[in-house]
């Protein structure tokens, strides 16, 4: 991947000038990334091991190394800090559990329908589904607040069916608790009343996402499904219609064809979408910042937001940085697992899928690209994957993956 054949065609004389130009050309980009990304991460790593309180520089001599104290406060020492972290993990965990499968299913559904539609209107539908991904999270949150307010459009629609909707974004009750309440279960059984991991009771862990968080889950699906639809569309086009057609000819119904032919052939794309979704949905921040972390009793707060709040509002910088680093390591591990998994599969790919994608020019290698690109700024990431899946840069896809 790193090597090109350029070495062989270069003469010795030109080479020195070329080396100089090479370094000159990469220097600005390298300096910016090193100074504003690599160095700051090291600085924050130091802060997470220190008792810096936000005054003066974190490098001034009065700041002490405190070892793992900040990490212990949020993970092992019982107390409010640990509980806050536990709740944030719980909130985000439910968010992931719902968002990742749902957005994948919706994106696949959209792609299959758009792909099936004949000549007319295809572009219109594609644009319609993709539009939410283009707009900023701030704007989308405002739209959702308007729609989901107590007297808003959503509750008006529910009203037609005789349902009185909740006050969505301010409702802190867990959806599973609400379901249980229908059956008269409103307090935890003995076994679940005890503390579970991170000082949060099992009853709370199992509450499900709060109604407010469910609204954010819908928001996430609304904004990311369009992007992932584009990835699936690229995958569907690489497969082509012939196989589908053949299955139909053999008498398989559309549903059977979809599950036994289309889905298995889309496996690489499916894997990419699932893992990108997994990585992205552990990074929810923007919507929570706009709504305010204390909304709905803090049930929409995620670790990413908690890290920000702990540092910038409570001025517990070390602890905030520690939360950020736990998240950092966790996401990096997910990313590496994905890259590793895709690398492993890569060599087998052409053999296994060779006949199926025989027509695909240049054998675009989706797994390879996504593996290199995964984890990029969500905005650029999806475009990269999407752009490659279509030819070169012929098409823009942009992600809104504002998980």
């Amino acid at each position: 991947m790193t090597g090109t054949a350029s070495g062989s065609r270069r003469g010795g004389g030109i080479r020195r000038g070329e080396a100089r130009a090479g370094w000159l050309f990469v220097t600005p980009a390298v300096v910016i990334v090193v100074v504003f990304l690599a160095v700051p991460i090291l600085l924050a790593l130091w802060v997470s091991f220190s008792d810096w309180n936000g005054f003066r520089s974190p490098l001034n001599p009065n700041v002490n190394f405190v070892g793992l104290e900040n990490y212990a406060a949020i993970t092992t020492e019982p107390g409010l800090d640990q509980q806050n972290f536990g709740r944030a993990v719980r909130n985000n965990l439910w968010y992931v559990v719902f968002v990742v499968p749902l957005q994948t299913i919706v994106a696949l559904l959209l792609a299959v329908q758009v792909n099936r539609a004949a000549l007319r209107g295809r572009g219109f539908f594609r644009t319609a589904f993709y539009f939410p991904s283009v707009t900023s999270t701030v704007a989308i949150v405002i739209v959702f607040q308007f729609l989901f307010t107590a007297s808003g459009a959503i509750n008006a629609v529910l009203g037609f069916f005789g349902i009185s909707g909740p006050n969505w974004l301010n409702d802190a009750s867990g959806v599973f608790h609400n379901v249980l309440a229908v059956f008269g279960v409103t307090s935890p059984p003995e076994a679940l009343a005890q503390d579970g991991p991170l000082g949060v009771t099992w009853w709370e862990w199992l509450a499900g996402p709060s109604v407010a968080m469910s609204t954010l889950i819908m928001l996430a699906i609304f904004t990311t499904s369009g992007t992932f639809m584009l990835l699936f569309l690229a995958g569907l086009q690489a497969i082509g219609g012939e196989i589908d057609e053949a299955a139909r000819m053999d008498g398989a119904g559309p549903v059977r064809t979809f599950f036994s032919v289309t889905v298995p052939m889309l496996r690489p794309t499916l894997f990419t979408v699932l893992t990108l979704g997994l990585i992205g949905s552990w990074q929810v921040f923007d919507q929570i910042y706009v709504l305010g972390g204390s909304t709905a009793g803090g049930t929409i707060k995620t670790p990413a937001f908690l890290a920000y709040e702990t540092s910038f509002d409570e001025l517990k910088w070390g602890q905030g940085a520690a939360i950020a680093f736990i998240l950092f390591v966790f996401i990096i591990v997910l990313t590496l697992l994905q890259r590793w998994w895709l690398r492993e599969r890569d060599p087998k790919e052409p053999k296994r899928r060779g006949p199926a994608r025989g027509g695909a020019p240049g054998g675009r290698d989706e797994p390879d690209v996504s593996s290199a690109v995964v984890g990029a700024d969500p905005t650029d990431r999806a475009l990269l994957t999407g752009a490659d899946a279509s030819d070169e840069t012929g098409r823009t896809t942009r992600d809104g993956s504002r998980p």
Binding site: S57, V134, V138, G375, T393
Partner: protein
């Protein structure tokens, strides 16, 4: 709008669509056509779900506060009023936010296009010691999740004395690993022969890049421009941690403060909706304009 995008799709899916009518005639027409109709019905239903919220929001921005709160579902305002827009321009620093966003976005976009294509070109074409390492470095950086940069970015900007300044808001965004990666991939895909001609003419390294290579890279550059523009126009996190003065608010941070701040209290939906509409327009318009341009360049390339 829809017309533009229709054409873009036709270009992209031309192969697949062209083959389709023929196949349909061979198969079982009635059944397939029924399937197609079901498809259209599902699509129209889904499209309504995706578009309707935006239409309602635009309608809401022309309502009175009470009307918007009470009749969220109605498309027609009881009385059409521009009050929200007027208030946005007189009671809030919206124009200032707009200006700040525009300034930052333009500089960041130009910077990214320039620095990322320079680096991408060097990594693709120029032979120098450490090249493989630099490339691996960028690949590694791609894996860094953006959201964990909030605290680190703030720390470094403070340390360098750039906090709460335009420089601090702009410089860290001037280059991205993803942009470098896009450009490198693109240069890898175009033949070296054209450059070789320029080399024989004795053109210097930078001149060759600037006047021979860069013009060829137009499709990739357009992609990068759209990405950068959209990315920095919608950027929120970096502007939360790189500034605090109200005068440096961008659209994202400013409008976010509308939601949580004084003007967000009560049910001032029209004001917020108006802000959301106005901040969305530029990026949406640009998206559609560039989409067509991309299409044209792609079509041109295919012919040649």
């Amino acid at each position: 709008m829809s017309d533009l995008s229709t054409r873009s799709v036709v270009t992209e899916g031309a192969g697949a669509s062209a083959a389709r009518p023929a196949r349909r005639r061979r198969g079982t027409p009635a059944k397939v056509r029924a399937g197609l109709w079901t498809s259209y019905l599902i699509l129209i239903g889904l499209a309504l779900i995706y578009i309707y919220p935006f239409i309602l929001s635009v309608a809401g921005s022309f309502k009175t506060d009470a009307d918007a709160t009470q009749n969220g579902l109605s498309l027609m305002p009881e009385t059409v009023t521009f009050a929200a827009y007027e208030r946005l321009f007189s009671d809030s620093p919206f124009p200032l936010w707009f200006g700040n966003t525009l300034l930052v976005t333009v500089i960041v976009t130009i910077g990214r296009v320039f620095f990322d294509s320079l680096a991408g070109y060097a990594l693709s074409r120029l032979q120098f010691r450490g090249r493989a390492f630099v490339f691996l470095f960028f690949i590694g950086v791609l894996a860094v999740p953006g959201v964990v940069l909030l605290i680190p970015r703030f720390l470094i900007l403070q340390q360098l004395g750039l906090y709460d300044s335009y420089a601090g808001m702009i410089i860290p965004l001037l280059s991205t690993a993803a942009g470098v990666f896009i450009m490198k991939q693109f240069f890898d895909s175009i033949p070296v022969s054209i450059e070789e001609a320029a080399r024989i003419d004795g053109a210097g390294q930078f001149r060759r890049f600037w006047s021979v290579v860069l013009p060829m890279a137009r499709p990739a550059l357009v992609t990068l421009i759209i990405l950068s523009f959209q990315g920095s126009w919608n950027e929120l996190q970096h502007f939360i941690v790189s500034r605090q003065s109200p005068e440096l608010n961008t659209l994202t941070t400013g409008v976010a403060s509308l939601v949580s701040g004084q003007l967000g209290s009560g049910n001032q939906f029209p004001l917020q909706l108006a802000a959301a509409v106005l901040m969305t327009i530029p990026v949406a318009v640009l998206f559609f304009i560039f989409q067509r341009r991309i299409m044209n360049t792609t079509a041109g390339a295919e012919k040649g």
